[in-house]
């Protein structure tokens, strides 16, 4: 057991703690020039399985109305026609201007390699792991991207919000914060707290980060405005991205619409739309123009409505792409159809391309990362195929 500390030793230690804190990547912001790339990537995980067929409705498919029943709105039921074939769910109407500006696009009938059991937890884990299966995989694909990019520092990537973001977990340092946390203590107590937790690296590191972030947040929040959590998260992410951060990842929950889908998906889509608009509106001038946001979900949902006015876990789904760097105004993907024999296991939208291929092409365009690294290190075993042209 260590000998009791004297005052003097304590003061010496305090200096040491101060030093270790100053060496934290958070207080030594990297310069723009030092960053290997200058574009911004935002990854949103839509947890629960978004019903892509409801968000972007293939009303031009002759089987759509019959298969979906009351869920099929189409332009006649209040959805907004996008291109004569697909229509946007009414709750996403605030995004129409973004679509018209060519800064919003959709990719239909995509999925991860996940098949069969249709479990949220597995589906999300695989989506975030970015691998064909989960055996032995501990990190996420965004983290592996940081691992292969030169000079990416701990401030380059941010996981925002209370949800654990597996997609960003791994060997590369990432920052993490929920905008509602704060740490207001006297300097003396903070120093003692650093001392007490020093022997526990995980606890100590989390505390050091919290200390700095809460100072930033408190300075920002003097106006005392209160907004909803998803808006706070998007706003915090946009602010970090306006500075040295290059990558941000967060979650939007509430997509598991087993029951009364019109109400439940309406709420979720409204949150998605507010999130995208907050990102756009909060980013400093010029940053949105070099930003790509991709929103992905663990799987789509059943084509047919279930007995409770909702839909169950499915396979093929929808990816959403937004931002000034996106070549939007289009619905990408190979449409498999909804007719007899078109469905996956006679129940789900047939996935026609791996969603990871689209993410990989976005990352390639934003960071210049070479294809070999993307297909081996970031998404092991992926065949990226042809460039779908998602980025300007």
């Amino acid at each position: 057991m260590a000998a009791p500390l004297s005052r003097r030793e304590f003061l010496a230690r305090t200096g040491f703690v101060g030093c270790s804190l100053a060496a934290s990547p958070l207080v030594t912001p990297i310069s723009f020039a030092a960053a290997p790339w200058d574009t911004r990537l935002v990854v949103i995980i839509l947890r629960g399985g978004m019903d892509g067929l409801d968000a972007v409705q293939p009303y031009g498919d002759s089987a759509f109305a019959q298969m979906r029943g009351p869920l099929a709105l189409g332009p006649e039921g209040g959805a907004y026609d996008l291109d004569g074939y697909f229509a946007l769910h009414p709750a996403l109407a605030p995004l129409l201007r973004m679509w018209q500006a060519g800064q919003l696009g959709f990719v239909h009938a995509v999925s991860t390699p996940y098949r069969g059991k249709r479990s949220h937890f597995d589906g999300q884990d695989l989506l975030e792991a970015g691998t064909p299966d989960l055996a032995g995989v501990r990190d996420g694909w965004l983290n592996r991207m940081l691992q292969v990019l030169p000079q990416a520092s701990g401030q380059a990537a941010y996981a925002v919000g209370r949800n654990t973001m597996r997609v960003l977990q791994g060997a590369a340092d990432v920052a993490n914060w929920a905008p509602d946390a704060k740490l207001s203590l006297s300097p003396q107590t903070l120093t003692l707290l650093e001392l007490v937790t020093e022997a526990d690296p995980a606890l100590h590191a989390a505390l050091s980060e919290a200390r700095i972030l809460s100072q930033i947040e408190q300075a920002k929040r003097k106006d005392g405005q209160r907004t909803s959590a998803h808006v706070d998260i998007a706003s915090f992410a946009a602010q970090r991205l306006s500075e040295e951060t290059r990558i941000a990842a967060f979650s939007l929950n509430g997509w598991d619409t087993h029951r009364a889908q019109p109400q439940s998906i309406g709420r979720a889509l409204t949150q998605l739309s507010e999130t995208l608009l907050t990102l756009q509106g909060t980013m400093a001038g010029g940053v949105w123009a070099k930003t790509a946001v991709i929103a992905m979900t663990e799987f789509g949902r059943t084509v047919r409505q279930n007995g409770a006015g909702g839909t169950d876990h499915g396979t093929g789904g929808l990816m959403i792409a937004a931002g000034g760097a996106i070549k939007g105004g289009r619905v990408f993907g190979n449409w498999p159809g909804l007719g007899q024999g078109d469905l996956y296991e006679d129940r789900d939208l047939m996935p026609t391309r791996d969603v990871r291929a689209y993410a990989a092409w976005v990352m390639r365009a934003l960071t210049g990362l070479d294809r070999h690294k993307l297909e081996n290190a970031v998404f092991p075993g992926l065949d990226m195929g042809r460039d779908p042209g998602l980025i300007l």
């Binding site: 260590a2 937890f121 929920a178 003396q188 007995g307």
Partner: protein
């Protein structure tokens, strides 16, 4: 040979040290605490689900009055009454958080409370809409608590067929496509089998996601489950008219053609005794009680005990407590927020009367809201897989920041007169106290922050 350690027993297998309760003196004492009358439950009662159902009946009655008297004054009165029922349930629920905390604070057999929490998490269930959203504690009281030391199969049946689970995973809405009900509804009405419960039973409750089942097993089990339902007045019911006729085959076993609850009990019993279930539960217990990366020989020992004793749980706990890995003196797992809060209350020996007469707002301010901020909304995990076990999920800047703020601010509001921080170090940490924490506790410029520093020390945050 294992190295039993009384302080470690309280910290790792209980809710930490108490200044007024002696820690258990051996494995026998820990196990004995699981048997016998449930005194702490009697001392701090929580409504059972069958009592809770009366709230659902009351809500339903008002709902019916509203429906039958639309636009009238009667309907308006009923609406008001409905709100009263809802509010009362909400207030009751936060009170049960208080009771749960008091049980953990005052029980001499904290291992029992830990097991209740472990299985309540394994069988996570929460109501979806209306007053039933408040029913998780009553469900635990009825479907988990009595069975924590019996056969796993009993626990499985009690939970999977419980109204709250049926509601949570939409089972009561699942109608066999060839059932009498489907025929009555006709082709125009939407109908379908809901796979939610069947999938979670295989993936989460029994075999585990690595288990040897296929989508066909999920679908067949879902068809077998059709008919499981409930009503507010009587609780669980089997609705023959919802049941899909014909036999179903799950994991290679065919289950009878009669539409009744017996084949469902049979399939649950068989799933409980499947080797994959033994492995899955063994691993989960090992992770929960020891570390994110448990000793493989501990998992093997638990699995073997489960299989050797026909899925009886007490011998599995005994195998856990008699394994050397259980007594590794290095504290590993980070306490979840609810456990951090519980063990703080135990370390402070928060008296029963301190909670008496408190309003809902008080419970929210000092317990409910801080828990949510630390990342754990009371009885509201994100999904049926319950709360994350990994330390990384909890040791985040925002989670830790909220732990700190609560540790510094809450204790003066939880007891009248804080203990002397220098004594508190040893009372709260036992033989895991060290000079750094003693120094910090003695150096803080005020008592609440000194207590908070002790609570934030790694020896209190981990177990």
């Amino acid at each position: 040979m294992h190295n039993f350690d009384p302080d470690l027993a309280e910290i790792r297998f209980g809710y930490g040290l108490s200044p007024v309760l002696a820690p258990p003196q051996g494995v026998d004492e820990l196990l004995a605490g699981l048997a016998g009358p449930d005194r702490i439950q009697q001392r701090f009662p929580i409504e059972s689900f069958s009592q809770f159902r009366m709230r659902m009946v009351a809500a339903q009655k008002q709902h019916q009055i509203r429906r039958e008297n639309r636009g009238t004054e009667l309907a308006q009165k009923a609406r008001k009454q409905q709100r009263v029922v809802n509010r009362e349930a909400r207030v009751a629920m936060i009170g049960w958080l208080g009771q749960t905390m008091l049980r953990r604070t005052h029980t001499p057999s904290a291992f029992r409370e830990r097991l209740v929490a472990f299985w309540a998490d394994h069988f996570t269930a929460l109501g979806k809409q209306g007053v039933i959203r408040r029913a998780t504690s009553p469900y635990i009281e009825e479907a988990i608590r009595p069975f924590v030391a019996s056969r796993f199969a009993d626990l499985l049946q009690a939970t999977v067929m419980h109204p709250l689970m049926l509601d949570y995973l939409d089972q009561h809405k699942s109608i066999g496509p060839n059932s009498a009900r489907a025929a009555k509804l006709g082709a125009s009405a939407v109908r379908g089998v809901n796979e939610n419960l069947a999938r979670e039973v295989l993936e989460l409750h029994t075999l585990g996601v690595e288990g040897p089942y296929s989508q066909t097993d999920v679908t067949q089990l879902a068809e077998l489950f059709t008919g499981l339902s409930f009503g507010a007045p009587n609780g669980f019911v089997f609705r023959k008219d919802f049941a899909e006729p014909g036999a179903e085959t799950v994991m290679g076993v065919s289950y009878g053609t009669d539409a009744s609850v017996q084949p469902i009990r049979d399939v649950l019993n068989n799933l409980a005794m499947h080797p994959a279930t033994a492995r899955h539960l063994a691993r989960k217990l090992a992770v929960h009680f020891t570390s994110d990366t448990p000793d493989p020989s501990l998992i093997d020992a638990l699995e073997a005990a489960y299989l050797a004793h026909d899925g009886h749980l007490a011998p599995v706990y005994q195998a856990l407590l008699e394994h050397p890995a259980a007594w590794d003196p290095v504290l590993s797992n980070v306490k979840l927020p609810i456990d951090f809060v519980s063990s703080t209350l135990r370390a402070l020996a928060v008296p029963k009367d301190h909670f008496q007469g408190r309003k809902e707002k008080w419970f929210r301010r000092w317990l409910g809201t801080p828990l949510a901020q630390m990342g754990q909304v009371w009885e509201r995990p994100q999904g049926p897989d319950g709360w994350a076990e990994s330390d990384a999920a909890w040791i985040t800047p925002q989670g830790v920041a909220h732990r700190v703020m609560w540790a510094m601010a809450a204790p003066p509001n939880l007891v009248r007169g804080l203990p002397d921080p220098r004594m508190f170090v040893d009372k709260a940490l036992g033989r895991f106290a060290n000079e750094t924490v003693r120094f910090a506790a003695a150096s803080a410029d005020n008592r609440p922050e000194a207590i908070g520093l002790v609570l934030m020390s790694p020896a209190f945050q981990r177990r």
